[in-house]
Structures are given as structure tokens and as C-alpha cells.
Symmetry: C2
């Protein structure tokens, strides 16, 4: 008899966005024609930049003729892209990462979800609370039920440290995400260095999700975990073009697995992780679209760099306006400075606050409780929107708060 993987039944159904959709449609039914502004979404709203569009048109044309046609590419990604990533995202910033340590994929969500396959089923995992649900769900599906939570609170500036680990808990893997989704918090170099030192001392691994790295503007805030001493021996880093360059719909990201980074067999012998991840990708993945990779390459041209920076500046401008308005209304706001997300202390129940904004101001937010227990009392507001909507939303917030 064909038995299912019963761990799938242990995932908490993500009612969050379904519940939001349900409440919004009920509201619209009761208030036909209400002009709802969605500040809950984590998806970009600005189009792809001209440099990327031009490169993708050219790549489509490559696929139209026998001479420049590209069929199966390397599962690890094309050298033309990996070389640019190594140079622009790392080496030019003084970080020693080589192109053969970079594996291109169709997105950081896939890589964040698949990476846990490399590890034994009984490894102990720790995540932040609140948290991007993929870290938790993918480990639950693999049978790792006992996931430790690191509370991200105002008291620790939403950046938990190794000392915040629950007593007696010694995780083998810690997921860290900075700039953080959902709190918008960033970690200082000293804070990340503490985690790196802890991981090296404990033969543990940091899975560092840097999907929002491009939003960092404050000098000194690390863009990569590899800015910390010793991170090459204890960290894997995930990057995404989704928010950096509006690639949510065209799908590209990459994962860095440094040479020499090891985990251990049961008998204690060390096993290098880069060949394992390469094996995973070559066996279960067939490379990101050639057209997409040519688009990603164009981000690293002078035009692409300027254009993507301008778009992120625009989103950061939205965030700044909303943060200022909310602070003037007396709210304590985290994030929104080196991040597209604002994490607003609503001084009460997050779903109640959600309902209040929806019913009185036609504004959709995301209740923090949906990201974990420690998210209760907060809402997440996203800066991915038009300026017009942001200004209108601020006016409405002033009217009802």
C-alpha cells in the first residue's frame, strides 16, 4: 500500500493570506466600489528596468535562430552570470567569493526550501519568531518537528542573539534573514559576527537569507554574511533578484556555498556541502531560464545598476513617508529604513487593528500574528506600491488613527 509522507499533515495551514483575502472580499461585498489600497503585499509593483528588458528581448531573439540558440544550460547557471555576481556582489565589495561558489536558481524561495534536503532528518533547527514561513514548513515537511524559536522583540531590537536561544537548546542550523521579513530589522556587523562565532564554535550552520540586501543604505550594515570573519566555514547565503530588480515574475536568485564548508557524517568525518548542493541541483533542477539569466546579467551593467538602484530608492521613499506619518501619529515603527517592510507596534491585537484599517480606511495590511506568536501586536506594511497610493493611504491613516 502506498503510504504518504505524513509530515505534510503537520504543517500549519497558512491561513494568513487566505484569511486576509477572505476578509477583504467580505468588506468589498459589503462596500461595493470601495477603493482598497493594498499595503499588505510583498510583491513588487514597478516594472523591470530598461536594461533588463533590452537584454531579455535580445535573449528571446537568440532563441529564435539556430546559431545563438541555447538549450539545456548548466544547472549551476551560466558563467556569464556567475562571474558577474562574484565580481559585483562580492569581490568589488572586498568579499572573497568565487564564481564557482555561486549556484544560480529560479529563486531564493526554492533554494531556501530545498537546502534542508542536504541534512540529516534529526538536525535541530532554529528560526526567528516572527518568521518567513518557508523555513518552518519545509523542515516540518521533512519530519523536523521540534523547531526552536528565537523571539524577535522590541527588547532585542528584533535581532535575537545566540543568548536568546531557549535554555538547553543547541541548534545545528539557524536561519537568519536580514534585512528581515517581516520585521524590516537589520543586523549590525557585530551582531552577525556573534552568530558566526557561535556557529563555528558549535559546528553549526547559518542559513543566511539576504533577499532584501539591496535595500540597505546605512553605511556599515553588512550586505552579506561573508563580511564576517569565519563565515565561509559556517554559512550558506541566499540571494534573490525578486526585490532587487523586480524579478518576482521572471524568477532568478542564487545560493552561495563556499568551498570547504562542511557538515559531518554520523561517524564524525566531514562532508563538503558544495558538491552536495551541486548534486541536488543537477539531479532535481535543470537551470534557470536562459532569458531570465540574460536579464539578470543586465542588472550588473552600469545602466542596470543605476536603474535598479533608482527603483529601490523609490520604494525606500515610500517606506520613509509611511514611517514618518505613523510616527507622527504616535506609533513605534521598526524597519522601513534599510528594508521595504515597516513593522508597526499597534498597541493591541493585530487582527483587530487589521480590521479597523480595512473597515475605516479601506487599507489592507498584514497582521503580524500571521508570522508567528511574537508577531502579535504588530502589523507589517509593505512599501511596494505606487507613490500615489502611498500618499492616499497616509491621508486615510491620518483620518482614522
Amino acid at each position: 500500500m502506498l503510504h504518504v509522507n505524513e509530515n505534510y499533515a503537520k504543517i500549519k495551514p497558512t491561513y494568513l493570506f487566505a484569511e486576509i483575502a477572505h476578509r477583504v472580499s467580505a468588506h468589498l461585498e459589503a462596500n461595493p466600489g470601495a477603493k482598497v489600497i493594498r499595503l499588505g503585499i510583498g510583491d513588487v509593483t514597478e516594472p523591470l528596468c530598461p536594461a533588463v528588458i533590452e537584454a531579455m528581448h535580445k535573449a528571446v531573439d537568440d532563441e529564435a535562430g539556430r546559431a545563438a540558440f541555447h538549450g539545456y544550460g548548466p544547472e549551476q547557471g551560466y558563467a556569464f552570470l556567475r562571474d558577474k555576481i562574484a565580481k559585483f556582489d562580492f569581490q568589488d565589495r572586498g568579499i572573497g567569493i568565487e564564481s564557482d561558489e555561486i549556484l544560480v536558481s529560479d529563486g531564493a524561495k526554492c533554494d531556501c526550501g530545498n537546502i534542508q534536503e542536504l541534512f540529516a532528518q534529526d538536525v535541530k533547527v532554529a528560526v526567528g519568531d516572527p518568521v518567513y514561513p518557508v523555513y518552518v514548513d519545509t523542515n516540518t515537511m521533512a519530519g523536523r518537528g521540534d523547531i526552536a524559536l528565537l523571539p524577535c522583540t522590541a527588547a532585542n531590537g528584533f535581532v535575537p542573539m545566540p543568548s536568546d536561544l531557549p535554555r538547553g537548546v543547541q541548534p545545528d542550523i539557524v536561519y537568519l534573514c536580514y534585512p528581515n521579513n517581516p520585521t524590516g530589522a537589520v543586523a549590525t556587523r557585530a551582531q552577525l559576527q556573534s552568530w558566526v562565532d557561535w556557529a563555528n564554535a558549535n559546528k553549526a550552520l547559518i542559513l543566511f537569507d539576504a533577499a532584501y540586501e539591496a535595500f540597505i543604505r546605512t553605511p556599515g550594515i553588512p550586505h552579506s554574511i561573508y563580511e564576517c570573519d569565519g563565515a565561509r566555514s559556517c554559512a550558506i547565503e541566499f540571494r534573490s533578484y525578486s526585490k532587487t530588480a523586480g524579478f518576482t515574475g521572471v524568477r532568478c536568485g542564487y545560493t552561495v556555498v563556499p568551498k570547504g564548508l562542511c557538515a559531518y557524517a554520523a561517524d564524525g568525518t566531514s562532508v563538503e556541502l558544495r558538491p552536495m548542493w551541486t548534486r541536488r541541483q543537477t539531479t532535481k533542477f535543470n537551470g534557470a531560464s536562459y532569458i531570465t539569466q540574460r536579464g539578470a546579467e543586465a542588472i550588473y551593467t552600469p545602466e542596470g545598476q543605476a536603474q535598479t538602484k533608482a527603483t529601490i530608492d523609490f520604494y525606500l521613499g515610500n517606506a520613509k513617508l509611511m514611517r514618518k506619518a505613523l510616527e507622527e501619529l504616535g506609533y513605534t515603527v521598526a524597519g522601513g529604513e534599510d528594508s521595504p517592510y515597516l513593522w508597526v507596534d499597534v498597541k493591541g491585537d493585530s487582527w483587530e487593528f487589521f480590521d479597523r484599517l480595512l473597515k475605516r480606511a479601506n487599507i489592507v495590511t498584514t497582521p503580524g500574528a500571521g508570522f508567528g506568536k511574537a508577531g502579535e501586536g504588530f502589523i507589517r506594511i509593505s512599501a511596494f506600491n505606487s507613490r500615489e497610493n502611498v500618499i492616499e493611504a497616509i491621508e486615510r491613516l491620518k483620518g482614522v488613527l
Copy 2:
């Protein structure tokens, strides 16, 4: 201490294509300037058809402006594509598959590799021998070591039946691939019906890989497992645009999981698989590229249908020429009629024959032994090439065989 998944160490390293590359480069070093013709590859050589190119240019333009911009799409694929698949690939052929039973992905390799996550670790798996390595490797990586082999031999026409199962072996999952990679064999309706009846009687599951379906020209040969009575209750089907429409570089495929198709919890209660696969995809995948999906949609226009059929006719023409030539040279050839692959009985050691063709004719093939023990004594020849190369290769074969 961070323990690795030690099952990764149990995979047989696929030396096949690495070994081929090694021998070819040694040959080229010894014979500089030799004009090598590669008949070993499984990648397409013809460009994307004009209908697809046009649709992809339009989709790139959609991504260039705020009005038509598409960010995150549904992980299951856009309705515009799923609806066309349901109509053209199934309903118009009298097969009752609905669009919400179709989940679009970035390729059949990914889906074939990921599907095993839905099942318990101790399920018994059976595959053909020779076999597409992904079925074996992905189960091995998940800890399923004891994989039963169904020998595909001249005696059974390279189509093993349930009666070919080793004595005492009762698999829960059987991978079937028709038209087959690597043998090029096709299964009749009666043969597939036997497997469906066997699966329903034994509460087993058929994972049906139909990646080469578009090459079927012989009337009556099933294009889909769902042409068999009762297949909805025992089969998942994988489709790919890689060979159908030259999408090896742009990445799109889909998986069909019929409503009501169930596996079982340990306590015997049935668990529907479609929500589980949906959950897997929504958690660990973020949808195929919007541009790629628009390209795939264009395959279903009248122009796209005619253009993709013409390309497959061209490849089938290559196969026919090579099959005829090899038969005239006295070789027994399977495949190459409803398939891009020829499976040639070389009456001897497959690596020896490989070396002979490489050294004497500058022709690269794939030794059958690389696909499994039962592949020894055969070589695989691929029809994915230019007509010019095929004609030249035939002349050379006539000279040396």
C-alpha cells in the same frame, strides 16, 4: 553537530556524460581539428518556433510597464496556460482532465525529482532498466535504497509488464516513461492498461513520464496514461515542453494530479495527493517565469501547433534516415519511429562500440550501459541534430561499420 543526509553518498556518481566528455576531449587532443558529430545528446538543436518567440517578446514588453506587469504568479501556473493545456492536450483528445488538475512548473525533471517527497520513506519503488537516472537518484537521495528493476529487453520489446516484476517484489510506485528514454520504445494501450489494472488492484501508483509524447505518430499509441480506464485513480503524469517545443533552455512543463487520486496514511485512511502536491509547490516553488508561460501558451495557437509539429516531423525525419541506414548495415534498431531516440543493438560491448565510432568516424553516441545493466550491448542515438550532420554521420557510419 550538523549531520548530513548520508543517502547522498549512496548515489552512483553519473560518470556517463562526464566519461563521454573525457573520451571525446582525449580524442580531439589526439586528432586536432577532427569534425566530431554529436549524436549522443538529448538536447534539441532547432530554435523556438516563431509563434513562441512572438509571444515571449510580447511578454517581455508586459514586464516593461506598470499596467501589464506580472509579479508573483500562482505557483500552480497561470489559468491562461492551464486552461489551454486542459483543452488541447486532454479534452480535445477525449481525455477528462480539468485545468485545476494541472500544475505548471519549470520542467518535468524538477517534478519527476520532487514528486517522491509526497510519499513515506519506506515505499517500494520500481523503475525500468535501462532508465532515466533521475527516478533512481532522487529516491536514493531520499533514503529509498532498494529500488526494483524491470528489465527492458528485446524479448519484451523494451516494454516490461507487471509480470516482469522480480518474484516477491510488490512495488508501491512504478515509474513508466513512454515514448521511452533511452530505448525509444512506445507502449500500446493494452500494455498501459495492464499496468493501470495492476496498480488499481495493488493500491500502487504509476508515475507516468510523457516527456516525449509529441513524437508519437502511430495511430492508437496512447499519448497519455489517462487514455486507459481507471488511470485517474492510480496515476500522475508528467509533461514537458522541452522536446515538444524546444524549451530545454526556457524551462516549462507540467504535472497532472487527478482529483480524487489518493495514497494512504499508516492507519489506512486515504489522503488525496493533489492538495499535497499543491502544498509542495506553493511551499518550495514560486511558479514558472511569466515570459516562459506566455511562450508555452503560444504553442496552442494554430500557428504554434503547426510550427512545433513541423519541428518534430523534422527530428523524426532524422531518426528515420538513421534507422534505415543502420538497418541496412545489418543492425537491429528499436525506437526512432515515435521517438527521437534510436536504441541500437551493437552485438557487443557498448563502450567498445562507442570508442570505435568515435575513433574511426568522429561520431559521439551514448553507450547504453550508462543507463543501467540491461543497457549493455546497446547504444543510444539521438535525432536532435541538423539534417546536414545526420546525412554526414550516415555516410561515415557506412564507411566504418
